[in-house]
Point group: C2
Amino acid sequence: MGSSKTVRKLSPVTQVPADIDIANSVEPLHISEIASDLNLTPNHYDLYGKYKAKVLLSVLDEFKEAQGGYYVVVGGITPTPLGEGKSTTTLMSCMFLQVVTCLRQPSQGPTFGIKGGAAGGGYSQVIPMDEFNLHLTGDIHAITAANNLLAAAVDTRIFHEASQSDKALFNRLCPPNKEGKRSFSNIMFRRLKKLGIDETNPDDLTLEEIKRFSRLDIDPSSITWRRVMDVNDRFLRKITIGQGPEEKGMVRETGFDISVASEIMAVLALTTSLEDMRERLGKMVIGNSKANEPITADDLGVGGALTVLMKDAINPTLMQTLEGTPVLVHAGPFANIAHGNSSIVADKIALKLVGPGGFVVTEAGFGSDIGTEKFMNIKCRYSGLTPQCAVIVATVRALKMHGGGPEVVAGRPLDRAYITENVGLVEAGCVNLARHISNTKAYGVNVVVAINMFATDTEAELNAVKKAALDAGAFDAVICTHHAHGGKGAVDLGVAVQKACESVNQPFKFLYPLEISIKKKIEEIARSYGAAGVEYSGQAEKQIEMYSRQGFSNLPICMAKTQYSFSHNAAAKGAPSGFILPIRDVRASVGAGFIYPLVGTMSTMPGLPTRPCFYDIDLDTKTGRVLVYWVIFDRKYWHRSVFDGTERYVRFDRYRRIRYSIYNTVTGDFREAGWDWINEPL
Amino acid sequence: MGSSKTVRKLSPVTQVPADIDIANSVEPLHISEIASDLNLTPNHYDLYGKYKAKVLLSVLDEFKEAQGGYYVVVGGITPTPLGEGKSTTTLMSCMFLQVVTCLRQPSQGPTFGIKGGAAGGGYSQVIPMDEFNLHLTGDIHAITAANNLLAAAVDTRIFHEASQSDKALFNRLCPPNKEGKRSFSNIMFRRLKKLGIDETNPDDLTLEEIKRFSRLDIDPSSITWRRVMDVNDRFLRKITIGQGPEEKGMVRETGFDISVASEIMAVLALTTSLEDMRERLGKMVIGNSKANEPITADDLGVGGALTVLMKDAINPTLMQTLEGTPVLVHAGPFANIAHGNSSIVADKIALKLVGPGGFVVTEAGFGSDIGTEKFMNIKCRYSGLTPQCAVIVATVRALKMHGGGPEVVAGRPLDRAYITENVGLVEAGCVNLARHISNTKAYGVNVVVAINMFATDTEAELNAVKKAALDAGAFDAVICTHHAHGGKGAVDLGVAVQKACESVNQPFKFLYPLEISIKKKIEEIARSYGAAGVEYSGQAEKQIEMYSRQGFSNLPICMAKTQYSFSHNAAAKGAPSGFILPIRDVRASVGAGFIYPLVGTMSTMPGLPTRPCFYDIDLDTKTGRVLVYWVIFDRKYWHRSVFDGTERYVRFDRYRRIRYSIYNTVTGDFREAGWDWINEPL
């Protein structure tokens, strides 16, 4: 199987005005052509319009015996707040002949806020961008629906329990027939089993068993299950519900997260089959009973319905890069409180589709302490897959920052240090790169460093990075210009990755075994950060004790930590060591399958600025095309719209300023019409 | 164009156990076959899997010159709380050779609560049922996303305005470029025009104009825009938002409605083109400024983004009946606070597709005072379409109730009067039917009464209905058994409808002109109910005065009234007259395009019972099939699931009791295992 047939030849141009309209300049291929190049027949997928298809999970069964391809994970060094181009590096992989790129589905909320879309930038994009950034094939909508059905089930159950006796409750849950006989529904046997009740006939239950079965007795203060919405709605961060007169004063404080922060998104990313998803969704814990026992979705009778809502979402979505190579878009768990990696299912399907000698390039979060570590210890643990090569994306800019360069702040111009040659700063910063390399090598993979080149980088600076990378044990280090040149700009990277995959000779190993205690696992990860020790708050101690008692201590750990430093302190650049890592609290996503210690406070619901992106988004009602495409804030990238005969462009520049320009298609006049710093508080 | 080629021949069976598994017994046709029978090529639609396709709006342009078919609307008499089978009567229409049935998309929320799905019952179903009842093609999810983006924009704008001076606000909205020059984004010209500001250069605005432009000055207490969710979540009916520390104490009381109650759903149902949708979404009013001026989505800069979110939702979804005839599913506005009819776009496309001599059967709400009246005066007003025939569905059961039969309560057994012959009761109740007939005839259409036959109805009773219908001026009255027999059971109805369409000879006319005052329009509708007059609350008077002053008095009226009586009093059966109709409040859906007076209190967010439907919904993870299908509560209808070698069935019977039964596939043993009355408070 190979994807070489329809690789589209782009003709990159070098002048900025011509670089503008890349996404609009390419007519996407019908997705059935992309699928056909992967040897997929129409039985293997469901079309969603012309440019998207859901690849059915049954492909995995059909290709069970087929040998898979090479598995490459892309992570990065500790980034600046401007981002270092990891997504685009993942897309660069389209230079391989037989490749599938696996990406996360972006959250729709930020598309209308500040961030703009997330389809890669420049010549490294997933198209059509608007379909990628908006509803896609409805997976996030399904997650929202499932998450909120469970939330409604929780509050409604508390409400109904409050007004009914044990027997009345039991009578409603297991209604008797005309002869007075009762029966359990199938899902109820899950709760019965959990309670150790063997009876299969409801009439055989003792009064005590009736009470234990019927009354979940949820402690409202213990509920960790929040509602979600795929909208940047800061006013839902903290709310009081149940204030209607019919809810009888049963008010409760809670809040909404953005949908991708739902545990159901993490389940989708980590599941391996429909059966596995059914089990994970059923065992998600929403809080505790007053006796401190975990209460699950299946205890509430809703695990099956959640699975039904998610049954199509488990199929990854096939799309294409600008160059016509296949991309599987699937899942996008919040990188802080979850593991931030795309789905296992997509990677597994992709490996079968590329076949032996082919490549699957999958994205992990930035930097590798957050993204790659979770990829290895959580995602690979559940998938059973092992990568041969890990790419670490580095930029001269970020390394200068780690070497002691002035603070880089989104919305403020970069200091001169970042745009003029300073080899000393780069060299000093390479301690950060070196630690990412050695941490990643420890898993038994070959590490290739991709130096994502900016126009202001000098040869001496780039060479310094290259040398440091090789000194630190990287298999290779190559300079990439894929953003400006598409696949062509990453040919060297491709060659290096191929060699790295072909010559891996160590066994894969995890950073920690599952069987050790929660604390021991946390400490193992902290050590990889450079910490000298770990300090637990009283709350963290309490939670660890509770989860251990509840039987969850053998889960892997998903650290909720800033990505801006190896340590908990975002200002500690380079390779800090000797610090004590503070654990503020510990939570669990039991269905997804991990414990997440909180190192600091994580915002799970973004806001909107005074002038959100949506001001620049409209529909051309004549053609049905979206006007003003999504903005990428890493590099110069212009977005086009046409109003009344003049074309209008919006971009974020590398300083994260937003710029507006007017291009008159008749006169050819191109002028900047405005700009703003994005530095408002959100 | 015709759909006759693939009409599937069902073989209805008469024994109950064999009637059970109808939906599962039929393998749906690939939707491209259904499309092809309508002369649609793959360019005309986007596939969404194998059994759903979105028919593109461009079909309307392409078939602009084509002559359309006959247009038939299905309404009903004043119903009992059990429903009288209107959806199934709409589906019966599959007996026509050239037909498209147009249906509403059901809300997903109630599917998991008490109601179960809404795909028709027995042999009159839309398949696959699970796809019809759940995500479909994402339209309701798009509405949820758009509705909530607007809500977030409202609260965030108030927040940002509170902390910024006029000039700071202006600076953010129209940021200056390096030379200090500013520009308006395209959407801002909409607000400028509304404010009567002609300047196109922001620098030319006076300080006063800057203030008027930048500061929406929304009065929080006036906000009518609520958030929505497609989940039965009663605890969101009334909530307090903004309680997070970062929201600086700007708390506000608000709530969630179920998604189908969003004005955006009403817009989708009433729009006629992308351009029209853009305008309607932009002019939706979210509340007033402190100076009592209406604030719109375009004032907030978000009308374009809402349109982008809704750009695919405007394309109706093609599905099929059990018999393989085409169904267009599109929009499902809440029947109380909105107009409760499926979309104009779907009807328009359908009329072109069936062509001259073909039939489009579209559903209006029950009874015709609510559904058909709004169909005629709102939907037909905006579409420019006129029906030739209106079907009024009647049942002996409901007519007995109108004739003075004992109260019919969901969850209680029917009184003997309803299941034994009582011609007198039927005759007395026909005053209700007669008024629906004369009201409907007044629009200039031919009225055909469809008597939806129940097993307990006697010939004398059915003949009494027939006679009363003809006496009241119906074109014809026919007995239907489509529920038990599929299309075959409605052949006579089809023949009568065809004759009615071919022999219409009156001009179409509305009940009221738009130019008269809001009060005059309300009074015209009240008169059709039998009211002697209208009484307005102080609040209603205030609102009518405000909307008139704001320029909205020429909108049609959408009465929010109980469907259980012609009057405001659900207990007043038959054809009440001489009463005074009280108007409690008056609201406006300016974007959708109607004023809605509230006659009583309407719940816009349902709840879940102690044992919601979701207990009986699961996925067969081996086959990917949904176990236990959606339950229809009107007639005997069993739903199958297979666990551990035994089949399990759930149904709601006609008394709206839920029943569970176990069928052992090995022994053939079939026994009832339980039942319950659905009479809990929601």
